[in-house]
């Protein structure tokens, strides 16, 4: 990445955007863990015994990484975790899209209004595109923080 793309000014703003997105997404799920468990179950990728644990912990991982990134604490670790989560989300959505199994993304909590299958398949494509965009932001934060570390040495 070029020097301008890794400028502290840009990195700070990208960190803020990522932090805000993850905190909002996390709280959307924390307010209703059974609803999020339902969404995870609908993906049909995990055994039933793992659904609840993931529904309880994942939103808090999102919130903690978001807050840490916002405060500038453990930025590299937070960005890496966000990157892993986004890759997992993209894979989960893609698998269901390929098998034409419509799911509500559950990314920011449950849907407010019922959606048709066609609408949900369309929403899944949008969610994948959004997650890929966020992955680019994560890559910028990782590259910028790596350069900061190198410059400090």
């Amino acid at each position: 990445m070029s020097g301008r793309m890794l400028s502290p000014w840009l990195t700070a703003r990208i960190q803020f955007v990522l932090a805000a997105l993850f905190v909002v997404a996390g709280f959307g799920k924390i307010v209703d863990p059974p609803g999020f468990a339902h969404e995870i179950h609908n993906y049909k990728l995990l055994p039933g015994v793992a659904v609840n644990s993931l529904a309880l912990v994942l939103p808090w991982v999102e919130v903690v990484t978001g807050v840490a990134l916002f405060l500038g604490i453990a930025r590299r670790a937070s960005a890496r975790i966000m990157g892993v989560l986004l890759v997992v989300f993209v894979i989960a959505l893609t698998i269901n899209l390929v098998r034409k199994h419509p799911v509500d993304c559950g990314c920011f909590g449950g849907p407010k209004v019922p959606r048709t299958d066609t609408q949900r398949l369309g929403d899944m494509k949008i969610a994948i595109a959004r997650d890929l965009g966020m992955l680019l932001l994560v890559a910028q934060v990782l590259a910028a923080t790596r350069r900061e570390e190198r410059d400090r040495r």
Binding site: G35, A37, A74
Partner: protein, 196 residues
């Protein structure tokens, strides 16, 4: 500035998230609480109900009168966890009275409107196993029909409740295929609030 150690920090972040999740779940109300280990079975396709011959038929001896709806009799099906039935059959069973109705949707939706007499039985809320055990402990006839519904379409909550009931011995669980939206579409009475 402290030098970051990404692996150590990542473990700390995940550990903090686990603690926060445990505290949050511990203080959550019954509708928000989750058991850490879920017990959701994969939902196999349900066969449609094939009504037994009339009351004079061989199955009639084990079917209570309440099981009859619109001339149909719903015999127990011990080899299948649940069978799907149509809205017409559900309406007839409801009219007949004495048939237990369970609402598998979230309690928040139940409160907004449910089939009169139905009990809240959300499979996603932490007290579902207690409710199933409670139903078993009531000493009901386990071969009497129990109608379970959710939101129809691809909603599997009613099937999952049916599976749980089947595991404790209920062998006549009938799933309302089109669910509550169909009930509302038919303009049938709806009760609101916490009471069945």
């Amino acid at each position: 500035m402290r030098r970051e150690n990404p692996w150590r920090d990542a473990v700390a972040v995940v550990a903090l998230a686990c603690v926060a999740a445990a505290v949050s779940n511990a203080v959550a109300g019954p509708e928000r609480k989750l058991r850490w280990i879920g017990s959701y079975s994969a939902s196999a396709p349900s066969p449609a109900a094939t009504p037994a011959p009339g009351p004079a038929g061989p199955a009639a001896a084990v079917i209570p009168a309440a099981a009859e709806g619109a001339g149909k009799v719903f015999a127990p099906h011990p080899s299948t966890a649940r069978v799907e039935i149509s809205g017409d059959d559900v309406v007839a069973l409801h009219k007949g009275g004495n048939v237990l109705f369970l609402d598998a949707r979230r309690t928040s939706l139940y409160r907004l409107g449910h089939i009169p007499g139905a009990r809240p039985f959300s499979v996603w809320e932490a007290d579902i196993d207690d409710k199933v055990k409670g139903l078993f402990a009531e000493g009901r006839d386990q071969s009497a029909p129990v109608v379970v519904y959710c939101t129809g379409g691809d909603c599997e909550d009613s099937h999952m409740v049916g599976q749980k009931l089947y595991f404790v011995g209920f062998d006549n669980v009938l799933v309302y295929k089109d669910g509550f939206p169909d009930w509302e579409k038919r303009g049938l009475p709806v009760d609101k609030g916490d009471a069945p």
